[in-house]
Amino acid sequence: MLFLPELFLLGGSLILFFITLGDEKGALAKNVTIAIGLGMALLCYMSIDKQGTLFYTAYKVDYFSQFFKIIISLGLVAVVILTSDMKGINAKVKPEYYLFMTLSCLGLVFLVSANELITIFISLELSSYALYLMVPMRDDATGEIKQMEAAIKYIMFGVLSTGAMLFGTSYVYGLTGSTSLPEVVMALSSMSDNPISYLAVFLILIGFFYKLAIFPFHFWVPDVYEGAANATTAFIATVPKVGAVAIMVKIVLMANPNGADWLILMLSIAAVSSMFYGNLSALVQTDIKRMLGFSGIAHAGFILVGMVTLDELGFARAMYYIIGYVLMNLACFLVICAVSQKGENVSRDDLKGLYKRAPFLALVLLVSMFAMAGIPPFVGFAGKFMLLIGALKAGHLVLVILAAINTAIAIYYYLSVVRVAFTSDPGDRPDVEVRGSMWAMGLVLMALILYLGVAPDTLMAITQKAVQVVM
């Protein structure tokens, strides 16, 4: 019964599909989605120590995959709860929206278990197509008409990176005669002096660079973040990135252990350019979601700093960082979704005087912004600190210096959001209503951000154990 969690998710998606056949079943679909996510997390937790391969070794269940499946399904639940009334999503297509969100998670769940290049490709596409469809589902009642443009851009860049990834896959198959990851890793490690193998791994990585928004493949980010509804952006910005990091660890391992210099160089360049591009562009943004998009590019660069070391600890730290990033981002989107009255975008000025209009939300915003800026004792600080220490010990001094400079740049725009929320006058902006689910969600997220920041050992032990399984 290794496949039980996936079967559960598949069955749940089928139920959601039949819900979409009815009219105006948005609330029902929401509850079903939450139940699916929680059930999935529970099933994965129960099978966390099981191991085995399925479907002629194309699919591998182990500690690594089950751990990520728990994170992905809990991420789904969190996004659904914190955007619970789905302002800004067309009421007619709400059940379909939840269906696509679940299907996207299904794709990611398959992705973290995939043990074969074609399986990786198909599950990546399953998760991406659902996201492409979620972007244009925004309601145009608030006068926002950017969603179509955003959706087209998202698809076009997606197709491009998919093409590059398939091209790389074809090279890998041509070189090794196999698409199964363990066989590919064995065959490639014996031909590491072969330039085509570098190119092949690089091309496959492009597919995940796109998902994670690393510098040369980031062009979709600002427009999609701004054009998609708040709920959609909250999802795109968090859950898929976890899956991308998980599979990037596996792909980067493909190029190990010989001839790693080119990979380190490539990852370092991508990391530094992402950080500088993201942070410098974020300085001038007024739309909060757009700012978070650019900050996401910078954070993706930071995750690469962990991968650069190419060792177990580095990957574990990168995984720790992405989980922390998801928590900080979710906390921030909780505030965005609450402050947005009818589902419109939130600019920095809309947060004016938030400490008077909704003190609790202002606190959540404060914690998430401090965490993203990397101020102790929050999770962002612990993550950045560990990543930089790791890179420094591995001898990447220049990279560490540039990353530290970027942390300083980033503080400006994160803290200026806090400044607007706490020191300016609310004017005639209305109070923000905070419902029970938001209180609960906000408290949980703040507690996790604080706990993981103060005691990173617990999560680090888990991520290290997960990485050991795949190495």
């Binding site: 089928l14 599909f17 145009d140 070189l175 005669g177 031909m191």
Partner: protein, 154 residues
């Protein structure tokens, strides 16, 4: 197999001296097909250039028209037209792709490890059943009702 070996040797930078006669023959075929394909692309242009009438009443000074069919076009091309037919076409496509996936199944159905047994039949049935849900969805959402869709807010 031999071709694959040479390809690998080539990738590894090993100079394959033994360019056997067959591989040169292969190259000739590839070249031939290349020029054949090129001919199919460029040939029509050449034929049109040579054969078309250039100075008749219907052709002369009509380059700016959006459609050159011999008739004077009436009105603008920027009009709205019923989208109903295209939805039908899309649904046909969904159905068509179902059939496409069945070809590999049909090829392998009676062979080796897949031969016989109720299990394969049920698996194919589930597969086609799930793909057909697209049609169920379209049916329920009224795609197959042929009436003109009127959009108020556009």
């Amino acid at each position: 197999m031999e071709g694959e070996f040479q390809w690998r040797m080539f990738l590894k930078g090993v100079n394959v001296v033994d360019m056997s006669v067959t591989s040169i023959g292969d190259l000739l075929y590839v070249t031939l097909f290349f020029f054949g394909g090129l001919g199919f692309c460029l040939g029509p242009f050449l034929a049109v250039f040579l054969l078309s009438p250039k100075k008749t009443r219907n052709i002369d000074n009509k380059t700016g028209q959006f459609i050159e069919c011999g008739m004077e076009p009436i009105g603008s091309a920027w009009i709205r037209y019923g989208v109903v037919y295209y939805l039908y076409a899309l649904m046909f496509l969904a159905f068509d792709v179902d059939v496409l996936f069945l070809f590999p199944v049909a090829m392998a159905y009676n062979q080796g490890q897949f031969a016989g047994g109720m299990r394969d039949f049920i698996e194919v049935f589930i597969f086609v059943g799930i793909l057909s849900l697209a049609l169920v969805y379209a049916w329920k959402k009224g795609v197959f009702k042929w009436d003109r869709k009127v959009y108020q807010n556009q």
